[in-house]
């Protein structure tokens, strides 16, 4: 199909050969699972189990709380060892509420997990509800609750469902393998989602560096005439939702808007697979495919991992390290997060665990910016990174915002090409975080001010009432004394 040009972007070495030919293997069940109650964007789930309780595979561990949230389920059968705090799958290394589960080795499914005969007979709302109940979130790393996105149908005229199989991050091959090995299931999930969205067009977009996935998916897609396969040029960040939609439709998503504004909803291929599992077999999201790669890993693999397995369990299965890694990354090297330790658990959004050598990361001491404009050329958002960085460094965050800081998607293309090796993304992250904190502080200030004003208004009203009562009493007393009405005087 006809594709459109997107601005900027870079061509990093993809390093996909490390793991691309490794078929998906099941990670042997670890001795303990640490299932965090927050694995998604939104409110954390509320614990639904107690210490000591026995659970079956697929039972609820945490209940969804609020409009944007997602439940979590038991990845296997076993006993709840406790609901406590455990280091999160996050660069900060902070602990969050986590259910610790000791698998009993039976891997026994819950009675409540039942297959559904025909998902296409269900109403769209019903599908969204089941997707929500299965705890499915965006599995490309964004972890936004998928049901919320399926319900966009109620607010937007959605005509196109795009399946994001770009997998433009180097090293990662989990979506590639899933599309190769489970093409029928992925396509089935896609069709169910299209049904839920009422979309009349479906585009499955896969980058040219995955010819086998393209072939498998186009074969599987033959069941539905609405589906078209888009062969994307290999370029980072092709998988960025808004840029992908632009490449496919030629339209830019309005700033600060959603792709739904132009009638398109994007879901990841792995999410489609999870939807298939949930709407055919009633299985909640309890495992995912993770790429373990990087030159420091002895045997790079693609693993199907129960949520809550520790990163260490994956690394052990892959033969540990060849050499001491210089960085342990969750996700791809471009937008991934450094992991504080190998203790942290795998969560719904973990698509990769990379152990990278010093040579691969190639971090050098920063030099001054030479205004070479490489970053301007690379930025897919049309920003001028060097100026935003200069403003951020001099403390002029408003200036950086004025230059479009909030339109920056944090893709890292600019920092990737910068010959001065400036940590541009780090500056932008700092500035965004700081602006958010200022926004919160401002809001808090306004809230306090509002409360204070309300209070003084209340006090004023009470005083006023008291004064009036006093005046009334005086008037009454005067009226009694003289029988002459004085009200007209006091009122003037």
């Amino acid at each position: 199909m006809k594709l459109f040009r997107i601005r900027g972007g870079v061509h990093p070495h993809d390093h996909k050969h490390l793991a691309a030919e490794q078929a998906i293997e099941d990670l042997p069940m670890p001795a303990l699972l640490h299932v965090p109650l927050q694995q998604h964007i939104g409110a954390p789930a509320k614990p639904a189990v107690r210490r000591g309780q026995r659970v079956a595979k697929g039972d609820l561990l945490g209940l969804s709380q609020g409009a944007i949230s997602a439940p979590v389920h038991a990845p296997t059968s076993g006993r709840v060892m406790g609901v406590g705090s455990y280091p999160a799958h996050h660069a900060s290394g902070l602990s969050i509420r986590t259910v610790t589960l000791m698998p009993d080795g039976e891997d026994r499914w819950s009675e409540k997990v039942r297959s559904i005969s025909d998902p296409f007979a269900l109403a769209p709302e019903e599908i969204a509800t089941r997707v929500a109940e299965a705890g499915i979130v965006g599995m490309g790393g964004a972890t936004f609750p998928s049901a919320v996105k399926l319900n966009l149908r109620t607010r937007y005229r959605v005509h196109t469902l795009v399946v994001n199989g770009a997998e433009c991050e180097p090293y990662l091959t989990c979506d590639d393998r899933l599309m190769r090995e489970q093409a029928d299931a992925v396509v089935d999930g896609v069709r169910i989602m299209a049904h839920a969205l009422g979309a009349e067009r479906i585009i499955i977009a896969i980058e040219e560096n995955k010819p086998q996935a393209q072939a498998a998916m186009s074969l599987a897609a033959a069941v539905d005439r609405r589906i078209r396969l888009a062969r994307l040029p290999t370029r980072y960040p092709m998988g960025s939702e808004k840029h992908l939609v632009q490449a496919l439709t030629g339209r830019e998503t309005p700033a600060r808007g959603l792709t739904a504004d132009i009638g398109v909803v994007v879901h990841n291929g792995a999410t489609a697979f999870a939807v298939h599992e949930a709407l055919r077999y009633g299985r909640p999201l309890i495992s995912r495919v993770v790429t373990v790669s990087g030159a420091a890993v002895a045997r790079p693999r693609n693993l199907r991992v129960p949520l809550g397995a520790r990163v260490q369990d994956l690394l052990d299965y892959c033969g540990g390290f060849n050499e001491e890694p210089a960085g342990l990354i969750s996700g791809g090297p471009m937008m991934g997060q450094p992991l504080p330790s190998t203790r942290v658990p795998i969560v719904k959004g973990s698509n990769g665990v990379l152990a990278l050598t010093r040579r691969e990361i190639d971090r050098q001491a920063p030099m001054p910016c030479i205004r070479c404009a490489s970053c301007v050329e690379a930025c897919p958002c049309g920003l001028v990174p060097l100026e935003m960085a200069a403003r951020t460094r001099s403390g002029d965050l408003e200036g950086a915002v004025g230059l479009g800081l909030m339109d920056c998607i944090g893709c890292g293309s600019c920092a990737y090409v910068c010959p001065a090796h400036l940590p541009l993304v780090q500056f932008f992250n700092y500035a965004k975080g700081e602006m958010a904190a200022r926004g919160r502080a401002r809001q808090k200030l306004m809230e306090t001010k509002r409360l204070a004003e309300q209070r003084s208004a209340r006090m004023e009203a009470i005083k006023q009432a008291k004064r009036e009562a006093m005046a009334r009493r005086k008037r009454e007393a005067a009226a009694k004394a003289t029988d002459q009405p004085t009200a007209s005087v006091s009122e003037s």
């Binding site: 870079v10 808007g257 937008m335 691969e360 971090r363 030099m367 205004r371 897919p380 958002c381």
Partner: protein, 363 residues
């Protein structure tokens, strides 16, 4: 408030094989053919001038880095001082005495670069600042050109004679030669017409291969073009500035030539003579002092081209590239301010794009 780079860091955890050092080394490689040709053409005095200029540039950079308390090794190895000195040396009359090169290098490194804050901070191209300052202060030395005397030819000065020429002691009868630009200018001002001054096309040919009087790196248009092509290929520079510069210069020259062919030379003359190509590919494209957006670069290049023509034709100096570059350098911050790329999802004015068929259902 300043933020430093904290230890735990954000991505990306991969990097393109780029560095400032690599960029500078590529520029040096690109300059090499024209430089070696210049050595061959102008012999020992040119080699001494080149070495003095580079040596002074590096020494000055080192002293400035020491004073500024910056890591000297890392910053010296980035190669920017060498490139600045190199470009300056290429734009000097090849037999100029050594102190011209030394003073020029001091001006370039200390005044034009380090005083502004060092690498990346200067507004004006250091080599051009030095060239213009020298031209104003030492007009005699800066306009004494010699005809090329290939280094091993019998008339060329030997090693020792070369040294004495560099030291500014006479004793060697050089065949002085006016550069094409100043020759034409002088003759024109005396009422000559171009058809008398430039008979035939021979000058174009010698300008292209570089067998005429001129600065060391300016004379051979072909070798400069070769280096420029190499930089384009390696993506060290983009085509926007050179093409806009050469294009606008050629356009205005052609128009003026059509208007009066006896007073205004055509495009080929302007392109091969003087420093046009050296400036188009190596000086106007200096990243530090040129705009960062593509549209800005085109405007900048076109501005340079027009100014070069205007200064060459109507102002007091036969060669206008130095002034043209400095004037446009001064415009760079303004150009950068007004000509930015369009931000994704917004129109040129920065408001979010609106579609007539927005899919949101308004209630």
């Amino acid at each position: 408030m300043q933020i430093e780079t904290p230890a735990t860091s954000a991505g990306p955890f991969a990097h393109a094989p780029t560095s400032i050092q690599r960029t500078m080394v590529l520029v040096m490689l690109a300059l090499l053919p024209a430089t070696v040709f210049g050595f061959w053409q102008f012999g020992w005095p040119a080699i001494f001038l080149f070495l003095t200029t580079l040596g002074t540039a590096v020494a000055a950079e080192w002293v400035c880095l020491r004073i500024a308390g910056k890591p000297q090794r890392r910053y010296l190895l980035d190669g920017s001082a060498v490139v600045a000195g190199w470009l300056l040396a290429l734009s000097l009359p090849p037999w100029a005495p050594w102190w011209i090169g030394a003073i020029g290098a001091l001006i370039a490194i200390v005044v034009a670069k380090q005083v502004f804050g060092g690498l990346g901070q200067n507004i004006f191209n250091p080599a051009m600042v030095a060239r213009v300052a020298l031209l104003i202060s030492f007009p005699l030395e800066m306009t004494s050109y010699v005809r090329p005397l290939p280094i091993f030819s019998p008339e060329a000065p030997g090693f020792w004679q070369g040294i004495s020429i560099s030291l500014g002691q006479g004793g060697f009868d050089a065949v002085t030669g006016a550069t094409l630009l100043s020759h034409v200018r002088t003759e024109l001002s005396q009422g000559g017409t171009l058809s008398d001054i430039l008979p035939g096309m021979a000058h174009l040919f010698s300008g292209a291969i570089g067998t005429i009087a001129g600065s060391m790196g300016e004379t051979s248009a072909l070798l400069i073009l070769l280096g420029g092509g190499f930089l384009l290929l390696k993506r060290v520079i983009s085509w926007h500035i050179p093409v806009a510069l050469v294009g606008s210069l050629a356009l205005i020259a052609t128009l003026m030539n059509l208007y009066d062919a006896d007073r205004y030379a055509g495009a080929p003359y302007h392109l091969v003579s003087g420093a046009t190509l050296l400036v188009a590919f190596f000086i106007a494209t200096d990243p530090v002092t040129s705009p960062v957006s593509k549209s800005g670069q085109i405007l900048f290049g076109a501005g340079c081209g027009i100014l070069v023509y205007v200064i060459r034709t109507w102002a007091g100096y036969p060669e206008g590239v130095g002034f043209a570059i400095l004037l446009m350098n001064a415009c760079t911050p303004t150009i950068d301010h007004y000509l930015r790329p369009r931000v994704y999802g917004r129109d040129r004015r920065g408001t979010p794009i609106e579609y007539a068929d927005n899919a949101e259902m308004r209630k």
